[in-house]
Subunit: 239 residues, 2 copies
């Protein structure tokens, strides 16, 4: 039987790093990195390379990749896109190669090299990702990107939603962090946006006048794309 | 207006260390260190010195202090007591000096030297501690000791109970960790033991046949002792 663990922030990653070898990990950055990644592929991007640093992003940019990225929630100067999922439309993504760097999500991804499989988790592709996790062997680590190392509610809610769904498919909760995430999801699920209305990141979005991104990021199961992170690149076929 | 923050585990402490200068912090280790500390003072201990290491504990032991402590939940060889609150009875504590070391709680305490005031938080003294926090100036940090760096449910529930009570007295939730703790407390408060029945630490207790400690540790507001950690020692008068 598969065990489910939840890593509440990247600051806690070192506690799990050894255990993660040959396991499955889902990187979650609901607002907005992993949501945007799913949207890019949904809308026809040919290649998407998440990278941790601005320097890496610029070096891919010099090779002809479109550059997407933010720091502290704001688009990076000279980049083609910020990190709003609404920017990555079909006409801009079709057949394109994109490099992406963000404050939290791409950092979390860069930590997961030892895992057997790394999935990109978003509310958009929650159900298909849970199916894929269930079909593959190995314990499951739900890895919340948080905000600069701090716990955040929105990533924990998605971890809870995924854990609840995985339990229904026979997986087993293995730690208190996953229990807490499921309890929070059970409270939130009938009105996720309402539950998150006073969360720190949502308040940050309101101050940035980016509320419409929230609606996109909280849509559930609108995508059938399972997204894997393999060899520094996102792919939609099981490696 | 006072802000409330929650530090979910000592592994996250470094994110808060600078902010903690001259603030109020409540160290929480429900199962069982901070509960036992409150019980010791409630039952007449003259001095209680929490220390992080076994070596420090033994050096106080050589000075005539009774030694209490556990590692991985089990009493340390050669010590007078383990870490069960039921051991610290009136006849054993009256007028005595005690040194105490535990896996998680005394480690968390040792991190808080820069704070203005450090409180010992337990369900037993939740209400009186919230009153004291409200009467003193400064933002409030609820610091959960966790288990070897991992998040745990029982400490988070007490943080949620304290935060909910502090909000009613006019303090303000400042982070998502505190929001999550309050949500969890609201789900748990009508049956705390039931809510915790599948938590990792409770399972650990069951395997140690220490379930009766749980009842003691989850009693709410049975003590009027506000306990401060000052200069390496616990005291019940505001410093």
């Amino acid at each position: 039987m598969k065990n489910i663990y939840t890593i509440l922030t990247p600051e806690l990653f070192s506690l799990y790093a050894d255990a993660l070898v040959q396991k499955q990990v889902v990187v979650i950055d609901v607002l907005r990195a992993t949501t945007s990644m799913v949207v890019m592929l949904e809308n026809g991007a040919e290649r998407v390379n998440p990278v941790a640093s601005l320097e890496e992003a610029r070096s891919w940019g010099e090779k002809g990749y479109l550059m997407a990225g933010e720091r502290n929630g704001f688009k990076v100067d000279g980049f083609d896109f910020g990190n709003s999922p609404q920017e990555f439309t079909k006409d801009k993504m079709g057949g394109k190669s994109v490099v992406m760097t963000t404050t939290n999500g791409t950092h979390a991804l860069s930590l997961c090299k030892m895992a057997r499989s790394v999935y990109i988790g978003a509310f958009l592709n929650c159900a298909v990702t849970c199916d894929a996790l269930t079909n593959e062997g190995g314990d499951i680590y739900l890895f919340c990107s948080g905000w600069k190392g701090f716990f955040n509610l929105e990533d924990t809610l998605l971890a809870g939603a995924m854990a609840a769904s995985l339990c229904q498919m026979g997986a087993k909760v293995a730690d208190d962090a996953t229990r807490a995430a499921i309890h929070l999801w059970n409270q939130a699920k009938t009105d996720v946006a309402g539950f998150l209305s006073d969360a720190n990141h949502v308040q940050r979005f309101q101050s940035m006048h980016a509320e419409s991104d929230l609606d996109v990021c909280l849509k559930i199961d609108t995508s059938k794309k399972v997204v894997y992170y393999v060899g520094g690149e996102l792919v939609t076929e099981r490696p």
